[in-house]
Structures are given as structure tokens and as C-alpha cells.
Symmetry: C2
Subunit: 358 residues, 2 copies
């Protein structure tokens, strides 16, 4: 009869709408026997564009300290209107989302991709026929080009120089590569692909390459493969079924997971976990999509990615049966949706919650 402290950050726009449905499903699944009596005590944190615009606060240290004191975090989406002059780019991304990932040491950014029933992939039948698409990207989450290292000189003048420094440590690369190998070993196909750009980014590339080879020696059952990020674009669109587990750096992972979401039928279904495998701080689960200000407040957003993020969260917490129950409910719901029927956000949440209730 575990009691788990859950920090909920609904965020902005459709973030709040999809989070409500995710919590609805979570409540339903914990009420059922599959959760083995686990209970969640949610605490809501209002963070995001709205709070920043109203108060100037992004993520006060005291709030971060409180959030840290939870077992797990569920996030909707943060972000204001595009090009809002009061909201310079990066303020929320660097100050809130990335700060959480970095401070809570979310070094495994986990992004599964598969083609769900009823999904409309932009890929042609002759591609999809090549094989089932079901892979997971293990994106490094705490270093690479995302560190915020770098700066700018003579800003705003014709002599401006701006740098971005990608920082790659053996420590940081080895731990995420290890996690990826362990995941690949547990999957039926036992295949791991490293994606990088070792032929140009030779310094970063060589540390990734070296540690990938070193850890590979400990996992003889896992078949390994290497692909440059540009070549990965081609394989992802012409034969996505070839992938099983992909491990890559923070920026390449950002790019390839959006492509993966696109080819498997849309960002509305892409869930993610920002995982701290060492459990020194709470992990955070969130849909890959953003706050979509253009459709906010209209109950048009598909909460499925947020609900699948709940499933990833349950799995991370060891509530495997509950995780599977949510995922199965989502799959059954997707399979039963009438093509072209526009369901509202709460309708989808209700349908999935009802299936979870059994």
C-alpha cells in the first residue's frame, strides 16, 4: 500500500487540458486492483508562461526544492504564444524544462515510438509493409549541446560572435550508453543503434564511439549498429522498422524523436520519460508535444500522449501491471476510434478511463 508523492506541473495551454485527463486515468487505474494498492498524492505546481508573465518567476529555488521532495513528476507542457515580446525564447525552456532535467539528473530521456492501431502515418504502404515499427530512443538528457555553455560577444553589432558549447563527458556518455544496452538486452530484438556525427564532431564523436564499443563488449547478445544523424534521417523515413533501441546525444535525440513521432503517426501520441535511473531525484514524465497555444482552451487536444506518459511513469515506479493496463486501454481506444471523428479532450480521457476501470 505504497503512497506516492506526485508533483503535477500542468503548465500552459493544452498542457493543463491533457494533464487533467492523464490524472483522471491515473485515478481510475489506482482505484483498481492492478495497482496493488498504490496511491498517488498529487501536489499541483503552477509553473510556465502564465506564471512567468504574471510574476517574473520561472522556477524559484524553493519550488524546485519542494518538487525534488516527490517520488515522481507529471508535466503537461509549458510555453506561451509564439513571438510574445514579453517571453524571450529560452526563458521557459532553459529556465524551467531544462533546469528540471539537469537539476534532477534526468540523464535518460526515454522516447518510445510505435505505430498504434488507427494511426495515420505519413509514410507510404510500401515502407510500412517492410516491418513493424516499434523502437525506443534513449536520448541523453543532461549534457551535449544543451548545457547552456557558450556565450556571445558584441551582441547586436555586426561584430557579434555567439558560441554554443557541446559538453560530452565519459561519465555522462557511459551511463546513458549503459542504460541503453540494458534496455536493448531486455527487448526481443536486442539491437542497439548509436546515432551521432562522428565524422565531423570528432571530439564528442570519439568519446561516444569509444564508450559505445566498451560497453558493447559487456553485452555480447546485443547487436550493435552505428549511423550518422544525417543517414538516420533516411533510414527513419525509408525503413523505420529496422530500429529497436537508439542511443544518441541530447540534440540529435531531440531531432530524431520528433521525426520518429511524425513517421509513427503524430506527436499527439508521443510520450516521454525524463528518467533518473539512479533514483537520486524524481523522474519526470511528459508528452513530447508542446502547449499548442493555437488550439488551447478549445478541448481539441488529444490527451493520449499525456496518458501514455502516465503509463511510462507507472512502469518506472515498478507498477508494471498498472502501466500495461493504461497502455492496453489506450490501444483499445485508438483501435475503436472512428476515422475522422473528432473527439474532445475530455471525451478521450473518459473513454480511456472507462476502459481502465474495465
Amino acid at each position: 500500500n505504497q503512497s506516492l508523492k506526485l508533483a503535477v506541473i500542468p503548465g500552459d495551454g493544452i498542457g493543463t487540458e491533457v494533464t487533467a485527463e492523464a490524472l483522471k486515468v491515473l485515478e481510475q487505474v489506482t482505484a483498481s486492483s492492478v495497482a496493488g494498492g498504490a496511491k498517488f498524492e498529487p501536489t499541483r505546481y503552477d509553473l510556465g508562461a502564465e506564471r512567468y508573465l504574471a510574476t517574473g518567476e520561472v522556477l524559484p529555488d524553493s519550488v524546485l526544492a519542494e518538487i525534488r521532495n516527490h517520488d515522481v513528476i507529471l508535466l503537461g507542457a509549458v510555453g506561451g504564444k509564439p513571438n510574445d515580446p514579453n517571453l524571450p525564447p529560452g526563458i521557459l525552456e532553459r529556465g524551467l524544462l531544462l533546469r528540471l532535467r539537469f537539476e534532477l539528473d534526468h540523464y535518460v530521456n526515454l522516447r518510445p515510438s510505435r505505430i498504434f492501431p488507427g494511426s495515420v502515418s505519413p509514410l507510404a504502404p510500401h515502407i510500412l509493409e517492410k516491418g513493424e515499427v516499434d523502437f525506443v530512443v534513449v536520448r541523453e538528457g543532461t549534457e551535449g549541446p544543451y548545457t547552456g555553455n557558450g556565450g556571445a560577444l558584441r551582441v547586436g553589432t555586426p561584430a557579434e560572435v555567439a558560441t554554443e558549447v557541446s559538453v560530452n563527458t565519459a561519465f555522462g556518455v557511459e551511463r546513458v550508453v549503459r542504460d541503453a544496452f540494458a534496455r536493448a538486452q531486455r527487448r526481443p530484438r536486442q539491437k542497439l543503434t548509436l546515432v551521432h556525427k562522428t565524422n565531423v564532431l570528432v571530439n564528442a564523436g570519439s568519446v561516444w564511439w569509444r564508450l559505445f564499443q566498451e560497453v558493447a563488449a559487456e553485452y555480447p547478445e546485443v547487436t550493435t549498429d552505428y549511423m550518422h544523424i544525417d543517414a538516420a534521417m533516411i533510414h527513419m523515413t525509408t525503413d523505420p522498422g529496422r530500429f529497436d533501441v537508439i542511443v544518441t546525444d541530447n540534440l540529435f535525440g531531440d531531432i530524431i524523436t520528433d521525426l520518429a513521432a511524425a513517421v509513427t503517426g503524430g506527436i499527439g501520441l508521443a510520450a516521454s520519460g525524463n528518467v533518473n535511473p539512479d533514483r537520486t531525484a524524481p523522474s519526470m514524465f511528459e508528452p513530447v508535444h508542446g502547449s499548442a497555444p493555437d488550439i488551447a482552451g478549445q478541448a481539441k487536444a488529444d490527451p493520449t500522449a499525456a496518458i501514455l506518459s502516465v503509463s511510462l511513469m507507472l512502469d518506472h515506479l515498478g507498477l508494471t501491471e498498472a502501466a500495461r493496463t493504461v497502455e492496453d486501454a489506450v490501444i483499445a481506444d485508438l483501435a475503436s476510434r472512428e476515422p475522422g471523428a473528432a473527439l474532445s479532450t475530455p471525451e478521450i480521457g473518459d473513454r480511456i478511463a472507462a476502459r481502465v476501470a474495465g
Copy 2:
């Protein structure tokens, strides 16, 4: 009756095979009246994996000086067998290809994409029906994450730290953005999309954003648009017809142009120009594909991308009618290919050369 000095770098693997066909077509078009009497004097430079493995030389300074003394360069492809222990990653890429781009100030890396007749796109009909796909990526070619700045400490140890520094200057960004606006203005749709990751790479992002806005003010006819690189993955696969001209940095450009080549039906048709618009040094034209050691020497490579690179080269030299003649011949040839018929490399070259001859 111009006489133009052409440096030819066939390179390795299929590079030499496709270059032979490109030169065949070039010879044919210059023999015809559309070239207005222009003649090319080719000098061949043996550079690439083979030379490096035989001599240890990548690009001797004296050879670079000779190449510089040409009007234009045609390159096939360079690269040896994958994972050849005698050919560490980056040696040829950084030492030859990127060195040429940087030394000859190829700041506009031009990569047109369209769906040619008979192309088999991996995208589904419901995507392709949205609109004709015909866009060009203007990829910055002389800075960004490709500078080779950065380094590594304690290499090979558990305490290794490796950095890659993306360098972005107002000078470098403004000139490529200007070139992109000028190109967009000359095209019927007059649309330019900036692709970056301003919400995370805030230093580099802000210099790109600022100069994009500044130059935009001088081109009121051009409609502008901004997209994060991750979002661009989604748009490129779900609605590639929306793009007209894209301007982006060196690394994002590398990634997005391979995706563009994939969605428009394959890297076998993707041509590129490494252009020095100020003409302070020769520009270089090359297919986007690599040396494909796996199919080298079998006359299986499609020389179309190399032949289309000749068309880009002719256009750059002001030989507009000759450029169009080559392009039209390629299109007519593609339209006439029997689906599934495997033509050899010289067969395709012959067919296109014959059409050029009239």
C-alpha cells in the same frame, strides 16, 4: 567563347563512376549551341581515401593552391570502407571536404529538393497530394558546429571531457541569410523559412533570429516563417510542399537536407553546390550521396545526382540555358525509365547525354 578551368575530384568508390557520367554529359552540353561556346578544361585531382591510405596525404597545400586556381570544382564523393582502422573518422571529412568548403569560403551550401517524375517517395499519397514539393535549402557552410573548434581532455580515460564549439558570427550569418532572401525573392512563391533551435541554443539562436529579422525588412515581398529544427522534422514529413526556401546553420542543414532527399525520393537524385557567392574562390558542386563502398565498382550507382550537380554548376557560371538543358534531359530521362528496370551507371549517363545532344 569562354574557356573555364574545371578541377575534377572524382574521389572514391562510386564517386569516380558517377563523375565519369557527369563529365560525359558536360562534354555533350558544351558541344551544343546552348553553351554559347563555353569550353571546360578539366584537371583531375586524385584525392580521397585511396590516396590517403596509399600516401598519408589528405589535401596537400600545394594541391589546394592549384585547385584554388580554377573557375569551378566538380567532386564525386570521398570516403573509404566503413570502420577501416587505418582511416579514422573525420580524417577525410574534416581534412578534405570541409577543408575545401572552409578554405574556399563556400558559405552557401545549396541543396534543391523536388519530387522528380518517377521518383518513389516514401511518403503516402495523402501527404504528396497536399501540394507540389519543390524547395531549396540554403545551408550555411563555413561556421556553426562544423568549425572544428573544441577539443578533449584526458582522452580515453573515465574522466574524459570532449567539447564541440558552434561558432556563429554576425558576419557569417548575415551573408548567408542575405543570399537566402535574394533567392527567395527570385522564386515564384517568395517564401523563406528560418530553421534553428532558438529556444535552447539561445546565443547562436539570437544572432540568427536578429539578422533574419533585419534582412527581412529589406525584402518586404518575401513571406517569412520560423521553425525549430525538431518541428521542421514533422513539417518535412507531413507537408513538405509548404517549403520554398529554407535557411539554416551548417549542422541543421546537414540533417534536414538528408531528410529532404529521403522524402523526395532518394539521395540518388540530390545534387548540391558549395557556393562562394562573392567569387573570391571557385565554387564546388557535388552529389549529396557518399562513396558507397558497398556497391562500388559494380556500375550500379545512379549518376543522376552528379549530373544534376553539373546543371547547378552551369547555372552558377551563368550558363543558364546549358543548365536547363541538362536538367530537362534528366527529367525526361527519369520520366522515361521503366519502373523496376535496373540501368547501369554508364547506361544512365549515355541516355542523358543523348538527350542533351538533342
